[in-house]
Structures are given as C-alpha cells and as structure tokens.
C-alpha cells in the first residue's frame, strides 16, 4: 500500500485522525520547507488561468442552471395557481427541489453579483433566528395585504419572506395541502418571480452589462475595485472553498449532531419538511469538489500541481474530496434520524471528521504550497 493511501485510510478513522494528520504534516513541513520555498513559483499567469477557467466552467454554468431552475419554478407556480391540485402541487414541489439544488450548487460563491443588493440573503437567508421565516410568512399571510406584494415593495421587504426558505414554508408548512387563497397564490408567484429576476440578473452581471464581473476577474489591477491581482481573485475562490466546507460542518451538521448522541438536536436540521438536509450537504460538497477539481477546465487543485512544492498534495485532496462525498452519500436520510440512530450516526461523525481533515490539509499544505494565505486572524470576524 502506498503511503498516501495509508494516509487516506487514516482519513476514515476519526480518533487517530487529527493527531496523525498533524504529526504527519508537521514532519512534512519541517523536511520539505526548503524544497517548497524554491518550488513556490506560481505567477499571476497561473492564478489567472485558473480564475478564468473557473468563471467559464464553474461559476457561469452553475448560475445559468440556477436561472433556468428559477424560471421553471416561476412557471410551475403559475400553473399551480391557475389550477391548484395534487398534480400541480407535486410539480411545483419538484420545481422547488430543483431550484434549491441549484442554489446549493452556488451557495459557496460568496463574491460577485450575488453579493449586491443583498441577493444571497434574499434568495436563501439561512440559518437565522428560530422560526423567524415561518413567523414572518405567517404574518404576511394573515395580513393578506395586496400592496405588500407589489413588485418594488416586495424587493425591499424583509429578506425572511423573499427566498427559498419562505417558499418551503408555503409548500410544506401549515395549509400547504389545502386549496390556496388568492393571496397565498399571489405570494407564491411573487416569491418565484422575484427569485427568477435575481437569478437572471446574476447571470447577466457575470457575463457583461454594467458590472461585467467576468471582466473584473479577467482584468485585475490597481484600478479594479475588486481585485488588484489575479492572486487576490484566486484567494476569493479559495475562501469560497474553505468557508463552504466550514458552513457544511458548522451550520449543516454540527448543531444537529451535537457533541454526542444524547446531545443531538434533530429539530435543527435544515429543510426538514421536504427531507433535504442531507441532499443539501451532498450538493454543496459536490460543488466544492468541482471548484477544487475544475469542471471542464483547471480548478484550484491545478495550482497545487503547478507549484510543484508538494507533489502528493493534489492527489491526496482529490481523493479526500471523493471519500468525503462518498461518506455524505452513504448516510441514510433523513439527517434528523441519522444523528440519533447509533448505527447511522457513525457515518455522520465520520463525515464531520473528514471535513475537518480536508480543512486541515488546505490550511497546512495547500495554503503554503500555493501561496494563498489563510491567516490566523484574517479569516476570523473578530
């Protein structure tokens, strides 16, 4: 068995993992440091090549998928409201699933047009205070004021009622199976139509128009308000990767799993009503894997190869992502039950350990090998 394979076997062993990884990594740092210093010769062209490929093959196609899903959702909402019934409701729920999938596939991309006008919060404000979305949606329904759904007004209304979480309340919460009132239908279609417009705008602004974010990535420089260098733009992608992993472990899994089976909190599982808690994790993870591996062009992993500082790093991370996705897919849903079932919980714990391990490798090896910093203080928020 090769040594890297042995390391990967260890990835699957929670107890030994952190210590083993840490010990191994420090030894590697000590012995390889002179080599890596000489080998880290990534230039702006290397970063730029990855940035352009990621925009073309990862970012834009994924936002296009989201725009199409939102348009389909809007159409399905229209059909449901024209003829409410079990069939049209099922179709609307399916369209909603596709839209949530599409969002989970871009959620890690925290910069660019999605940041403007609070779009990411308006599309998917989660997590937030307990029951706040259900409460806000309930209040809106109770008031049934048509003026609240007027387009301009709605766009500036509370983020709690604008996005996919509010739609989830309407499609799976109280009264979802009953024949909808005219106001409830108007709200459904307003949410869908508003999201369709946001998704279309995001695609447009990535590809041209006034903002042209692809150009912003393609032409870094002193006058570029977003990126002074290609390396800075790559760093934004790297932060998307790292923070994306952290969001999965810290928001989607840990609060639900708790420190032990006795401390599990199934009620905190995301998208519990449509039973998508684990699905969200898998789609998130696959998107991050795509960001690392590239999707028809080089991904972030390409930089590890090009730097030549740490030859075993790229295959190690590639395999780590594959194993982690496998673990996530192997957990029998729903998450809320898995965390309190002694047998299924093991896989959840394993997934958490693997997420920690990938982050650890990114911090201790990928970051020094590629020159993309993760600061002790810089990523902090204090």
């Amino acid at each position: 068995m090769s040594r890297s394979l042995q390391t990967l076997r260890r990835l699957a062993l929670p107890a030994a993992l952190a210590a083993a990884l840490l010990a191994g990594l420090q030894a590697a740092r000590a012995t390889e440091a002179p080599v890596s210093l000489a080998a880290v010769a990534l230039g702006e062209a290397d970063y730029q090549r990855v940035n352009d490929a990621l925009v073309q093959h990862h970012v834009v196609p994924r936002y296009q998928v989201m725009a199409a899903a939102m348009a389909a959702l809007d159409a399905a909402a229209g059909r449901y409201c024209a003829a409410p019934g079990a069939g049209t409701l099922a179709a609307l729920r399916a369209a909603d699933e596709a839209a949530v999938d599409a969002w989970m596939g871009v959620q890690h991309l925290h910069f660019g047009p999605v940041e403007l006008f609070m779009r990411s919060y308006r599309l998917y404000f989660w997590p937030q205070g307990r029951g706040r979305i259900a409460q806000a949606t309930g209040e809106l329904l109770a008031a049934a004021d048509p003026a609240s759904l007027e387009e301009q007004h709605f766009r500036n209304a509370s983020t709690a009622i604008q996005g996919l979480p509010a739609l989830e309340v309407l499609l799976y919460g109280e009264g979802a199976e009953e024949t909808p009132s005219a106001f409830r239908c108007a709200l459904l279609t307003r949410i869908a139509c508003n999201m369709k417009a946001m998704a279309a705008d995001i695609v447009e602004e990535w590809q041209g128009g006034k903002i042209d974010f692809a150009r912003t990535v393609a032409e870094p420089g002193p006058d570029n308000p977003y990126f002074e260098s290609a390396e800075e733009a790559t760093l934004a992608f790297f932060q998307s990767l790292y923070n994306g992993l952290e969001l999965i472990s810290d928001a989607r899994l840990k609060p639900v799993a708790g420190a032990s089976i006795e401390k599990a909190k199934p009620a905190l599982a995301e998208s519990r009503a449509p039973g998508r808690s684990l699905r969200n994790v898998v789609v998130n993870l696959e998107a991050l894997q795509g960001l690392y591996e590239g999707e028809g062009g080089p991904g972030l992993g390409d930089l590890a190869v090009r730097s030549g500082a740490d030859p075993k790093l790229e295959p190690l991370l590639r395999k780590a992502f594959r194993l982690t996705v496998e673990t996530a897919k192997g957990i029998e849903p729903p998450l809320a039950e898995a965390v309190v079932d002694p047998k299924r919980r093991k896989a959840v714990d394993k997934l958490l350990t693997q997420l920690v391990a990938i982050k650890q490798i990114l911090r201790s090896r990928f970051s020094p090998a590629t020159g993309l910093p993760i600061g002790f203080n810089a990523m902090d928020g204090d």
């Binding site: 609070m118 401390k263 204090d382």
Partner: protein, 378 residues
C-alpha cells in the same frame, strides 16, 4: 450544559496544571511590569496550544499562561495586580492571573445562557470588571459584572443597549462605559455564523456602569448599517476612536475608522483617501491610540496592513505591511506602536519617521499572535 461550554471542573483541572512557564526570572518580569514595558497577548503555538504570552517590546518572552482554548483580548486592573484573559467569541471561560509574574489566580466560567464576546474593562477601583456577553436566548447584548474581591463572582448584569457587544472601555470620568455594539446576532450552536446581517444596527453606546442607564448612542449613517462597530480606543479628553468591520459586498469602499467627540451628535468618519480604505479590505481587527493621543493605529489582518492615522486631520500618515498583522499597543513615543502578526513575531512602528522594523526574537516569532495586545501595567 451547552455543547461548547467548558465544565468548571475541566477549567480548574487545566488551571491546576497551568503553572505559568517563566522565561524571564520572576524578578525580571516584575521589573519589566513596573517600568511599564511588559505586554500581554493571546497567542498559539504551531501545535494549536493557546497561551497568554507576556513579552517586552524588544522581544523577550517573560512567561506564558496556558489557556484551555483560544483567547481574545485582556483587561488589566488599574493597580496592575490582576489581568483577565477573555476567551474568544463565543467564549465560555476567562482566566485571571497576576500580570507581574504570570501566576494563575482564578478561572471563571460563563453562565450557561450567556457567552463571552472576548473583551472587558475594569472599574477605576479595580473591584468590578465588566465583560461583553451575548444573551443568545433573548437575542440581546449584555455586560456581565464580576467582583474581583469575591473570586470574580458574577454579581450583576447590565444591558449593552444593542446586539453583539464587543470591545468596551471605561471613559475618563470613571463611571461611563463606551461599548461597541457590533450589531450582529450569533448563537453558540452556530458559533461563527451571522444571523441578522440584513437588519443589523451597529452602535457605539455610552452607559452608566453603576446602573446600566443609557447615556447616549452613536449610529453610523443609514447607508453604513453594514459596518459593524467592533473596537475602540479612548483618549484622556474623552475622544473615542472606533473601528468597523464591513459586512457588505467586496469592493465597496467605505470608511472603517471614525472618532466621536464627547457630546457631538454625529461621529467623524475617516473617509479618504481611497487607497487607504482599500488597504483595509473592509476589516479592522483592532484600534489603539498612541501615547500622545495624536495618532491612531488600526490593523487589518486581511489587508496585511497596520495603518496609522493622524487624529486631528483624519488623514493616514503611515501604513506598514505586516502579514496577518492584528495586535497593536502604544509604546512610549509619539506615533510609536508595537504590533504583532498571526504568522509570528512582533514589529516596532514609528509612524512619524515612517519606519517599521521586525523585532528579532525567535521566541516571539515561534508564536502566532492573536487580535489584541494589552500593556501589563494599566
């Protein structure tokens, strides 16, 4: 008990094994404190073990106090006999030690339904210490009041008059506390996740430390409601300098440093020049006035920059490039600052002369220095 809270037993266990490792002789450490030359800061070794480190400006490590987890800032009692190391947000412990020699005095655990936000301040007589805390159940900010003469027992609680209180300082009048309410709601089961960005309302609140009464509240203009007010420094004449962390889109150039003069209706924003704002990358990690009160240093670990502004003109005078630079403290000279890096090591800045030089010190370079540096003698 909540998943992230440390049990009291674990804290005490750690404390028992936590004889500070003296690196200067206790007598030498005491001499350094008396001459005002000892500085305190949380730090981490390569293996992740966290400490409070005490060191001199010329790079000698006096002692290290082991911590159970990562710490944030500290407060030192006015007589210089007690230092409190606060844990990092959302924290559940604080470690009290004698800053003259690093001897451990007491550890305190957070109430189960509160979390420490990483900062605190002593009353003028050193008896009470006020800690910024998150009441995550009621979703409001509070200051926990602890009695140093009674084993640092929690004896009262004051409202912070906002959400997410972070750094606080005592005003020169001795009764007013200035508190940065960052405006961001968090909860311990989602430790680093911001729950209310779209609706956040940061503020700088002045309150009476005796009864918690609100004495005044400063807001930023509405278009800056995403600028979380986090850190502050107070001048002898009551001028408050404060610094922000912007939660809005990357690329927005917004002021991140401001001052508020006692009684003024609005803060004075340090708005220009663009290049200076850009260097901060939307994020200031700490703010400190120099010994003269004429210069304000702010750090941006994200931008890898420590910036010194002249308070009077609201213009930047010097920027030092320090990778992951965050901790700053005033040295004795006008425009003089000591700075630390999360990568490792410390630096001496002379803003007037426009100089920054690393302090040659293998001991300090081997440690990753956290957000804040506090002088060991208040």
């Amino acid at each position: 008990m909540a998943p992230f809270a440390l049990s009291r037993r674990r804290l005490l266990g750690l404390a028992a094994g936590a004889a500070a490792a003296p690196l200067l002789s206790p007598r030498a450490a005491r001499a350094e404190t008396r001459s005002g030359r000892l500085y305190l800061s949380c730090c981490a070794a390569d293996d992740g073990q966290c400490f409070t480190g005490a060191f001199t400006a010329d790079g000698r490590l006096a002692y290290r106090v082991p911590l159970p987890e990562r710490g944030h800032s500290l407060a030192v009692s006015p007589d210089g006999s007690r230092a409190v190391q606060f844990s990092r947000r959302p924290g559940s412990f604080a470690v009290v030690f004698d800053p003259r020699d690093g001897r451990l005095v007491e550890t305190l655990a957070c109430r189960d339904d509160r979390r420490f936000n990483g900062h605190g301040a002593f009353a003028p007589d050193g008896r009470l210490v006020y800690l910024s805390e998150n009441d995550f159940v009621a979703e409001r900010g509070v200051l926990g009041v602890y009695d140093a003469r009674d084993g640092f027992r929690r004896v009262a609680e004051l409202p912070s008059h906002g959400i997410g209180p972070h750094e606080l300082r005592l005003m020169p009048d001795g009764t007013t506390l200035a508190v940065c309410n960052g405006g961001i709601q968090t909860r311990p089961d989602l430790p680093r996740i911001k729950l209310n960005i779209p609706t956040m309302e940061p503020s700088l609140a002045y309150l009476d430390r005796r009864d918690g009464r609100l004495l005044g509240k400063v807001h930023l203009p509405a278009e800056l409601h995403l600028a979380s007010i986090r850190h502050l420094a107070v001048r002898a004449d009551g001028l408050v300098a404060f610094a922000m962390q912007y939660q809005g889109p990357r690329g927005d150039l917004v002021p991140l440093v401001a001052t508020h003069a006692a009684g003024a209706r609005a803060p004075r924003l340090f708005e220009a020049p663009e290049a200076a704002l850009r260097a901060l990358e939307g994020y200031v990690g700490s703010a400190t006035l120099d010994a003269s009160g004429e210069f304000l240093a702010v750090s941006s670990p994200r931008g890898g920059a420590i910036q010194v502004w002249e308070v009077e003109s609201a213009r930047p005078v010097f920027t030092a490039a320090i990778a992951d630079g965050c901790g700053i403290a005033a040295t004795g000279a006008a425009g003089g600052f000591l700075a630390s890096s999360g990568v490792g090591g410390t630096f001496l800045l002379e803003a007037v002369a426009g100089r920054c030089r690393p302090v040659a010190s293998p001991a300090l370079e081997a440690l990753h220095w956290d957000h804040h540096i506090v002088p060991a003698a208040a």
